[in-house]
Subunit: 181 residues, 2 copies
DNA sequence: ATCTAAAGTGAGTCAGCACTCGACTTCCTG
DNA sequence: CAGGAAGTCGAGTGCTGACTCACTTTAGAT
């Protein structure tokens, strides 16, 4: 077991292409999308996919991790009294277009290989929640678990229902009203 | 094409068994559950499944229709000022246990073979909504589409998040508060 | 009791898909 | 500019799961 040497240049390039391709493929076809298709779109042979990700599930997990990291960054950058509201809005908007986001949240409660990353998202959302509560834009009654639950629900709903912008706003408005003091 | 003659007794029995078996199988395994497994649990050969439902998708659609009919009945029986709230609660509780319910709602927006049945559910919910609004338990601002959207979202969330009773109640409490005047 | 069309059976077909592996190519190091 | 390790290639393998069909069984009409 040699210490992890840096990847060769072509390998790095392919790894990145693969992740991008996988994201769009799974976004379009769901987890049912085939590995072969991912390879094709990345301009690479199947064997290469499996060198980088020994299992289809590993590939899925890798995208989830990346997506999760992006969300955490976004949550970290947002803040202030209505940071939580803006984060939720953005999340739902993304979910409506990108199946992966919703799928990610759906799996996150189940998949045992993402616990720390999910924990980080949880922490980020907790931060937004307490900021909002201090600013008085969210009721002190509200706790983190139900916020996470709503977050998962809404992104799932947006995904499956094919919401347009208006419906999204009206639905979020109801939830936001429920969160306010 | 002879007019539809009544099914033979054994055929009727098997059809019913098949639907029951399919419901539990798909509830446990999701749509990925195999036709063979459905046949096994119904105590019937695969061929029989395909005699009744030429396509796996036909089988799925058949359960959806049945489930939908049950929901519509339930919605019809409920009523009064908090009928809508009780319906939502019951729906979410069912979704948490039975994958099929959530999957049904998820598909209902997409699947083109269930439009009338879904329309009926929509009507039933519309009835509950207007009753609640007349009684003053739900704000007049709220419209049907967002209620349907919340309904789909919450059942999806309950399914994927594996909510316990407490979390379910707390989450619903937020939504209900958002619906009130 | 007899007959027959409807229903049931289950081994078999076929397609798709995750994954393998030996031959070939490309990067990097000295 | 070797040499060889790391990476890529893609035809091939094996399995799973939807669907078929020639044959057997059975319900129900006469």
């Amino acid at each position: 077991m040699p210490a992890d040497r840096p990847l060769r240049a072509d390998a790095q390039r392919n790894r990145a292409r693969l992740l991008d391709a996988a994201e769009t493929v799974f976004a379009e076809l769901g987890p049912g999308g085939s590995t072969e298709e991912v390879a094709r779109r990345a301009g690479v042979a199947v064997g290469t996919v499996f060198r980088h990700f020994p299992t289809k599930d590993d590939l899925l997990t890798a995208i989830m991790k990346r997506l999760l990291a992006q969300l955490i960054t976004e949550a970290g950058e947002l803040g202030g009294p209505d940071g939580l509201f803006r984060f939720l809005t953005s999340l739902v908007a993304q979910a409506a277009g990108k199946r992966s986001v919703a799928e990610l949240l759906a799996r996150s409660g189940i998949d045992l290989r993402l616990p720390d990353a999910v924990g980080n998202l949880r922490d980020a959302v907790a931060g937004l929640l307490s900021q909002a509560q201090e600013a008085g834009t969210v009721s002190g009654e509200v706790r983190l678990p139900e916020v996470m639950a709503l977050l998962v629900s809404l992104s799932q709903g947006a995904l499956h229902g094919g919401w347009d912008e208006q419906l999204r706003d009206r639905t979020l408005a109801v939830v936001f009203k429920g969160l306010k003091p």
